[in-house]
C-alpha cells in the first residue's frame, strides 16, 4: 500500500516494534517473552516496513536476507552448545557467567540465553520468508 501516512509512521513504528521485540527477548528468561515471541515481533516489524513501502513487490535484496537471518540464528544456537562441551559437561548444559555491572548485583549471562537469541534470529528469518513468499506478486 502506498500510503504516505503509513510510510511516515513506519520510521517510528519499526524501531518501536523492534525495541519491543528485543525487550521481549531479553526479559524472556524472567518475564513473559523469549526468543520465539521476540523473533516473531521483530519479524513482523520488518514485514510492516515491507508492507508500507513497496506493496508486496519485494526486492531481491529483501529475499536474500531471511536466509541469512536463519543461518545466523541456527549458528548461534549451535554456538551455545559449544561451551558445555569444553566444560566437559553433557551437551546443552547451561554455562553461566556473571558480568559485573555497576549499581546492580551483576547480570547473569549464559548459554541458554545465547540459545534464545539464536531462536530469535531464526524466527525473524522464518517470518520474513513466510510473509514475503506468500504475498509475492506474480
Amino acid at each position: 500500500m502506498n500510503s504516505v501516512i503509513l510510510q511516515l509512521a513506519a520510521k517510528y513504528l519499526r524501531w518501536l516494534l523492534i525495541s519491543f521485540a528485543v525487550l521481549a527477548l531479553l526479559r524472556g528468561h524472567n518475564n513473559p517473552g523469549g526468543g520465539f515471541i521476540g523473533g516473531l515481533m521483530a519479524g513482523l516489524a520488518i514485514v510492516y516496513k515491507g508492507f508500507a513501502f513497496n506493496a508486496f513487490q519485494v526486492k531481491e535484496k529483501l529475499l536474500k536476507r531471511p536466509e541469512r537471518y536463519m543461518g545466523l540464528g541456527l549458528f548461534l544456537i549451535l554456538l551455545s552448545f559449544i561451551p558445555s562441551v569444553f566444560a566437559g559437561k553433557p551437551l546443552m548444559t547451561g554455562i553461566w557467567i556473571t558480568v559485573p555491572v555497576p549499581f546492580f548485583s551483576g547480570i547473569k549471562l549464559g548459554t541458554p540465553f545465547l540459545f534464545d537469541i539464536g531462536v530469535f534470529f531464526t524466527v525473524i528469518g522464518v517470518t520474513l520468508l513466510f510473509v514475503f513468499s506468500l504475498t509475492q506478486k506474480k
Binding site: R68, L74, L78, F81, S84, P90, M92, T93
Partner: protein, 495 residues
C-alpha cells in the same frame, strides 16, 4: 564420549546451517556426501559403543531423567542409526547424478539433512514429546522434498501425503498429552517404570490407540496407508528412494519401541490387533503391487506389504519374533532403497517408469540386471541374501508360537512379492524392447556415481545374508533388550 550420542542430530544440523550459508551447488554436493559419510562413521562408532555398554544415555543439558530430555542409544537404535546412515550416504551420492536440473542440489541437501536430522532424532530420543518434535522435523522435510520440482503430480501427491500424515501427527500429539495427563512424565523409561507398577495400566489403552493410529499412519499399515501409494511415485526417484527406505520404517521403529517398552499391558488385545493389521497390510500391499505396471508404484505398494511383516513380528511378540521384525526392517530398508535406486537407473536408461514401455535391458546391460537382481531377490526372500533370513526368522517365530494364520498369510504374501519382482524382471529386463518412442533412446553406460550406491547397498544385502549370524545375534540382543527393558530403564533413570 557420551556426547557422541547427540551427534546424529547435531551433525545434520551443522550441515543445514552450512548449506543455508554457502549457497553454491557444487559445494552442496560435496557437503552432502561428506556429511552423510561422517554420519556413517559416527553411527558406526555408536554401534561399537553400544556393543560395549549395552545402553548408553545422554542426559541433555545435564538435567537428570526424567526431568530433562534423555537421548538413549540401545541396540535397536544403534542398528537403525547405522542402517539409516548407510542409506542416507548412498542417496547422497545418487542424488548427485539423478536429481533433475530443476532442483538445486543446495536446496535438496538442506531438506535431505533435515530429514536425516529428524530421523536420527527419532531413533535416539528417549522422550515421547521429543519424538513428536523429531517426527515433525522429518515430516516437514519430507513435505518439502515431495513437492520439490513442483509438477502437478507432485503437488497432488504432496497434498495427500501431507494431509494424511498431519492427521497422524495430531493424533500423536493428543496421545502425548493424554499420556502426560495420566502419568505426569514424558520420559519413556520413566513411563515404563510407572506403568509397570500400575494396576490401572489398562486405562492407557485409549492413549495407546491414538499412538497406534498415529504410528500406523506413518508406518502405512492397512486401513491407514492411503497416502503412500498416492504420493511415493510422484517425486524424483532420488527422493522416492529416500522415502522408501526410511520414512515408514520410523513408524515401525516407534511401534516397536512403544509397544515393547511401555504399552505392554493388555497384550492380548494389542497383539491381536497388530496381527490382524499386519495380515491385511501384507495382502493389500502385495495384491496392489501385482496389479500395477509402473515400477515405482509396484515398489511403493511393496513397501506397504512388507511393513506387514514387521508389524507381524511385533504382534507375535516373542523375542525371536521381535528379532525377526528388526532383522526384517533392516533388510527391507536396504533392499527397498536399492530397488528404487535401480528403478531410477532403469528409468534413466529408457526415460520411463512404465514397464510396458521398456525392455531388453538384460541384453544391453547385464550389470544393471545384477544390480536389480540382488535387491529384488533379497525382497523376494531368495536365499542366501538377507531377505530369506528375515522371512525365515519371522516364519519360525510365527509357527513356533502357534500363529498359524498370520504365518500362512506371510508365506502367501511372499509369493505375491515374488510375482511382482518377476514381473519387473520379465518386463524390464527379459522382454525385448517394444518398438515405441523410448526404444530409440541410446543406452548410456552407467557412471560410477550412478551405480555405486546400488552396489554398496547390494553388497550390504548379500553380506547381511552371509554373515546373518552376527546380525541375528545383534537383533536378538536388541529383542531381548526390548522384551526386558530393565537395563534401558536403569541406564536412563540412574545413569
Amino acid at each position: 564420549m557420551i556426547t557422541f550420542v547427540a551427534l546424529p542430530i547435531l551433525l545434520p544440523f551443522i550441515f543445514i546451517i552450512s548449506l543455508l550459508v554457502f549457497r553454491s551447488d557444487r559445494l552442496a554436493g560435496w557437503l552432502g556426501v561428506f556429511g552423510s559419510g561422517l554420519l556413517i562413521l559416527l553411527s558406526g562408532y555408536l554401534f561399537i559403543l553400544v556393543q560395549k555398554h549395552g545402553v548408553i544415555a545422554l542426559q541433555m543439558g545435564g538435567w537428570e531423567a526424567p526431568f530433562g530430555i534423555t537421548l538413549v542409544v540401545d541396540f535397536l537404535s544403534a542398528i537403525m542409526l547405522v542402517v539409516a546412515a548407510l542409506i542416507v550416504f548412498s542417496i547422497a551420492i545418487y542424488a548427485l547424478r539423478f536429481l533433475p536440473k530443476t532442483i538445486r542440489l543446495n536446496r535438496f541437501f538442506i531438506f535431505f539433512f533435515g530429514l536425516t536430522m529428524g530421523l536420527n532424532g527419532a531413533f535416539v530420543t528417549g522422550d515421547v514429546f521429543n519424538l513428536f518434535v523429531w517426527f515433525e522435523v522429518m515430516l516437514m522435510s519430507s513435505f518439502v522434498l515431495i513437492t520439490l520440482g513442483r509438477t502437478k503430480e507432485q503437488l497432488e501427491g504432496g497434498i495427500k501425503y501431507m494431509s494424511l500424515n498431519l492427521i497422524g501427527s495430531l493424533l500423536f500429539l493428543a496421545g502425548v498429552g493424554l499420556l502426560y495427563g495420566k502419568t505426569g512424565t514424558l520420559n519413556m523409561a520413566h513411563l515404563a517404570e510407572i506403568l509397570k507398577n500400575d494396576n490401572q495400566a489398562i486405562l492407557m489403552n485409549t492413549s495407546a490407540v491414538l499412538f497406534f493410529v498415529a504410528f500406523g499412519i506413518k508406518a502405512a499399515v492397512f486401513p491407514l496407508y492411503f497416502w503412500l501409494p498416492a504420493s511415493y511415485h510422484t517425486p524424483n526417484i532420488t527422493i522416492s528412494s529416500l522415502f522408501a527406505g526410511l520414512l515408514t520404517k520410523v513408524g515401525v521403529y516407534t511401534f516397536i519401541r512403544f509397544f515393547t517398552l511401555f504399552f505392554v499391558h493388555d497384550q492380548q488385545f494389542w497383539h491381536q490387533l497388530l496381527l490382524i493389521t499386519a495380515g491385511f497390510t501384507m495382502v493389500a500391499g502385495g495384491m496392489a503391487a501385482a496389479a500395477h505396471y509402473e515400477t515405482r508404484r509396484i515398489l511403493s505398494y511393496h513397501i506397504i506389504s512388507q511393513i506387514g511383516y514387521m508389524i507381524m513380528g511385533l504382534g507375535i511378540f516373542t523375542p525371536l519374533a521381535i528379532a525377526g521384525a528388526i532383522f526384517f526392517t533392516i533388510h527391507n530398508m536396504i533392499a527397498k532403497t536399492n530397488t528404487f535406486l535401480v528403478a531410477g537407473m532403469i528409468a534413466k536408461a529408457r526415460g520411463t517408469f512404465e514397464l510396458k514401455e521398456v525392455g531388453g535391458l538384460f541384453k544391453q546391460s547385464p550389470f544393471l540386471a545384477i544390480l536389480f537382481m540382488v535387491p529384488a531377490f533379497a525382497l523376494a526372500g531368495v536365499p542366501p541374501i538377507s531377505g530369506f533370513f528375515a522371512k525365515f526368522i519371522l516364519i519360525k517365530a510365527g509357527l513356533e508360537n502357534g500363529n498359524y494364520v498370520i504365518t500362512a498369510v506371510a508365506i502367501l504374501t511372499g509369493m505375491l512379492t515374488l510375482y511382482s519382482m518377476i514381473k519387473i524382471w520379465n518386463e524390464a529386463f527379459l522382454k525385448a524392447q517394444p518398438a515405441n518412442e523410448y526404444a530409440s533412446t541410446p543406452f548410456k553406460k552407467l557412471k560410477f556415481a550412478e551405480y555405486f550406491p546400488s552396489v554398496l547397498l547390494g553388497a550390504t544385502s548379500i553380506l547381511m545374508g552371509l554373515f546373518a549370524a552376527y546380525l541375528f545375534d545383534f537383533t536378538m540382543n536388541a529383542a531381548n533388550q526390548l522384551i526386558d527393558p530393565s537395563l534401558y530403564i536403569e541406564t536412563v533413570l540412574k545413569g
